[in-house]
Symmetry: C2
Subunit: 628 residues, 2 copies
């Protein structure tokens, strides 16, 4: 890539601007494979899953192969078009959406390589890989290499999972093979213009016909990959209201609505699904976000998924996965931003150590400045802490699949509880991490000759899509913390305390174990305080600062994951001789843990002070006080 | 502006997507004139300046006229091209930089209207307006209306001030009239590719000739408005090193280097200043940021400004003003983002109050949700708190001009101390404020059919240009807090305590006075702790967390300004009858102050914990621990 903006024939000394303009754009590393293997094998012992019948066909070798192949695809297929897809966003011409042609290749590769159904049951054409391997690894790698390019097959996975889980065999047989092969695109279609986050206000209608299908009429907005020219068909999993259904969320059903329905002879027939436009976005530009019109000509057919009026609970099967994906996408973009700024910091000479200010001494790389190291440690702490929490969620997901009875329910509760946290912490903190990455490059960070500004734009979508941070906060506090009489919260506390216990026997980590225990008690105190307000029947005051409660919860959850990583790293260090690379890797984990407890965990003090206040300021504030 | 992305012929119900797509883009308000008059007349009593001879010719009527005219220019001249300039950034073609043609009109209007030299002495063609009126008001209004468009004449002001202050009469006569008239562009040219923030490493050379000028050779990068086709000439105030000068910053001189020098007959002669390229930026796209090559053909002439080897101290006269401008630019962009999201929040119906969840009841505007109000209050607190601190700085600047002896020096010390704070708090928090504004619009905030994403991009430059946040932190802690044996810090504490005292007699504000006094004591404790480390001779450990020290300092400074605003507002409220608009305005101030003390000030707890830690983590962290 020729990025120099100076004309090449300039004589010395002008030529050396070249060096600076060009030298630092070569960042190739976007994710640490070493860190992913650390999470998989050392932290969450994915090999232990091999003892369950579901995973009995697999082996460490299979898992390693998944990693190798995904890394290869990330480097060779996704990364090379990272900037190109951003600079050539989808176009909407004559009612059709044109995307970068690489999307067709990616869909095909993901189909033929088995990536779309990697975690699905064999009976649905899947490979029955654990979520930790089949979902986390490729999603993280592809998203770090090129987030926009990674969403197409990922959305197809989510839609296919709903079909596999809730549709009758004849529908599965019609749709799943094409979707799993990457020929047909899947979507989830919830949002409507007048409803937005308020799903209860969905008005898309479904009218039962005398055939097996419903007649659909309505619009959806902000539908990712809702139409494009690199798939032969688009399969929408859409929420709609059957005529006569109860008002509110109890009257919402889930429908399969293809763009092209399958005619009696197997041919594809236009199903009156029109793309009415696409959005022009700050970032995430390689993915088309569409407006859809179902049934403009009265000929849009949809097939009910599962039972009538239970659509929202089905959709949440997909939505929960999508929320984890969003967190993972944000952590992965932040990972790429981290390595790009790390590389710059190691190569860019500027200034001197404060202890040697001789202007005649050579300049040092900026990584030598403590303030730059602090920013890099912040990025590392956010990225690796987020990935660790996401892998923890994935572990619970896998354990839920292989468990039964109460244990199965418990794993599900843990996953449910942590989903808003694993969606939000990486998303909100990812913005700040990419911003710090940009800052490390100074003026160059602000220029599109370097990749940081794109990461900064791409990552900004994550606190919005699949439920805003505000929605996640209310979900955590009002639903997840109270469901099953608060059982999820209790299970979570026990999980964290297991880690605290493990750390207490490790002299170097004992102070962190102590800090985390204290933080946990404070979280219990805040929770009790807020639940007390709820019990007094004041839902607005109860939830007024739910977003900050989520922030508090998130910091503590990541502190937990950092302690767990440090325990694992310290164990490895104590085992003795390692190659120097591994020594540095494990020691880096200890330092990042120290960073988190030194710089990030203290942020809970201010949050706790606020959350214990509950003066109702935002409840009683009148709109007219914002005037002038 | 036609912003709907749906084809207009769609039948009902599709048509009503139109409404949502189009309805909320009309945000017209970008700054509160009421708030500016509150700051000018009620907070900082600008009329009291009229008693000094320097300002004796002026009157309240003149100040009001400045405000009216600036508001009119903001609305009619700057705002209409806000999005257009972003979408049509400068182009670099055949060595020339083409900018939006409105720039010529703006420069001319700012010239003929007297805006460029508004605060200059009469003898330099200025209007001798107070900084609070002549600088703060138009800069805030123009930057809020269209930041990119506001920089051209502002940079000219800065360069002209250096010429007026340090050049001999013949140079002033040659350059000032054209610059003040907006015909010639001024710049400040510090940064070089190999130096960046490390000014000591500047290598541009100046060689004395037998004439009155020096021969200049070297390159500068990231020079704002360093070349464009809407000015007849570009006047660079550039740092360079005279051959044989001492190494380091003690050998840096300041030069006036025109793009076109003035020939013996008054004609313009090309001065061998070439624009080597422009940067393509995340935001702030209406302003050309250039790379310059001086003396490629050996024929670039520069004129020494002031004495040799004292360039850096002269430049800092301009730089200090520029840093205040950067803070003001960030606060102003955040102001526009605040009003755009406020308008959306008032108009966008979605969801219901938590106390009435009947799905058949009408939806409420999202401003009814406490979480949205919290985000709006955050924006209001950042914007109005920042503007207040900036006006405080401007007040010190004005008082410095009219004072003498020790008093003059004291005002200067206060201004110097607060400059890194007034640059950084608005810039760093402006990013978060614009981000919250974007978040309020949900998916629409991420789309360029709405203005929030542009504000989010535009504001991101501010923690970078004119000295990064890291540089500001070191400036505050290592230079400003220690100069004159810490006198600036002592003066500052006394200023804040004056406000605390005033608030203690006001029952409603007493708790805030108490909180601020406590915060101030904590700041004293942290400062003493860090100075103690410096005294032990460990400069790296001393400054390792200087950025966080600046963050702590900034929050407390804004808390001070909010208390000052609340004291002023409460006094007005107690005076009795007001029009309802004013009642709401003053009450809004009280609520925003409550917000700041309830939500923002507690953030110092975590920072103090960190700053008192000083475990040297970022000093001792080894680079190789970042490997893998």
């Amino acid at each position: 890539m020729e990025l120099c903006i100076l004309c090449p024939e300039l004589p010395y000394p002008f030529r050396h601007i070249h060096f600076y303009e060009r030298g630092y754009t070569m960042a190739e590393k976007f994710i640490s494979e070493r860190n992913l293997t650390f999470l998989l094998y050392e932290m969450f012992d994915v090999e232990s899953l091999l003892s369950y019948p579901r995973y009995a066909d697999h082996s460490r070798e299979v898992f390693d192969m998944v990693m190798d192949t995904a890394m290869k695809m990330g480097k060779d297929l996704f990364k090379p078009v990272f900037s190109e897809m951003d600079k050539n966003p989808p176009e909407y011409v004559d009612g059709k959406v044109k995307v970068h042609p690489i999307v067709r290749t990616i869909m095909q590769e993901c189909g033929s390589g088995g990536w779309i159904g990697a975690t699905f049951d064999y009976e649905h054409g899947g490979q029955q890989l654990p979520e930790m391997v089949g979902m986390m690894i490729p999603t993280a790698i592809f998203a770090a290499a090129n987030y926009s390019a990674s969403i197409y097959h990922g959305l197809t996975t989510g839609a296919a999972l709903l079909i596999a889980s809730f549709c009758p065999k004849e529908i599965k047989d019609l749709y799943l093979p094409k979707m799993m092969a990457g020929q047909w695109q899947g979507t989830m279609a919830l949002t409507e213009p007048q409803a937005g986050s308020s799903l209860t206000d969905i008005t898309t209608t479904a009218e039962l016909t005398e055939e097996s299908y419903y007649r659909i009429r309505g619009q959806k907005i902000f539908i990712s990959a809702g139409d494009h020219d690199c798939a032969e068909n688009i399969i929408h999993l859409a929420l709609a209201r059957i005529k006569g259904a109860p008002a509110g969320i109890k009257g919402i059903s889930l429908f399969l609505i293809p763009k092209m329905r399958i005619g009696s002879g197997g041919e594809l027939v236009f199903n009156d699904v029109n793309c009415a436009g696409i959005y022009h976005k700050l970032g995430y530009r390689g993915g088309p976000i569409t407006q859809l019109a179902f049934g403009e000509s009265g000929d849009c057919r949809g097939w009910l998924v599962g039972e009538a009026n239970r659509g929202l609970s089905y959709m949440f099967l997909m939505m929960n996965g999508a929320r984890i994906d969003v967190g993972l996408g944000a952590a992965s973009i932040s990972s790429a931003a981290y390595y790009a700024s790390l590389e710059y910091a190691k190569e860019r000479p500027q200034g001197r150590r404060l202890s040697s200010k001789d202007p005649l001494s050579p300049q040092v790389p900026i990584i030598e400045h403590p303030d730059i190291r602090r920013m890099l440690l912040f990025q590392k702490a956010v990225v690796e802490g987020s990935l660790s929490l996401l892998m923890q969620c994935s572990y619970y997901h896998d354990m839920e699949k292989v468990s039964e009875g109460e244990q199965k329910e418990d794993y599900n509760l843990l996953l449910e509880l942590l989903t808003p946290v694993a969606k939000t912490y990486p998303s909100e903190m990812g913005i700040l991490a990419c911003s710090q990455g940009l800052q490390i490059l100074g003026g160059y960070g602000y220029c599109d000759e370097f990749p940081l500004e794109q990461y900064y734009r791409d990552v900004r979508i994550h606190p919005i899509h699949e439920g805003t941070t505000g929605i996640q906060g209310m979900d955590l506090l009002s639903r997840k913390m109270t469901m099953k009489k608060g059982r999820a919260g209790l299970l979570y506390l026990a999980e964290v305390r297991k880690t605290i216990q493990a750390a207490q026997t490790d002299g170097g980590l004992k102070p962190f174990a102590h800090d985390l225990e204290k933080a946990l008690s404070q979280l219990e105190g805040v929770t009790a305080h807020l639940i007390g307000i709820a019990m007094k029947g004041d839902p607005e005051l109860f939830l007024a600062d739910a977003t900050l409660y989520l922030e508090l919860f998130g910091i503590i959850a990541i502190a937990w994951q950092w302690l767990l990583q440090a325990v694992t790293a310290n164990k490895a260090l104590k085992k003795g001789s390692h190659p120097s690379g591994d020594m540095n890797f494990y020691t880096g984990k200890i330092y990042a843990c120290r960073y988190f407890y030194g710089y990030e965990l203290p942020k809970i003090e201010g949050l706790i002070k606020r959350l214990m206040n509950s003066d109702g300021l935002t409840v009683e504030m009148k709109n007219e006080y914002f005037e002038e």
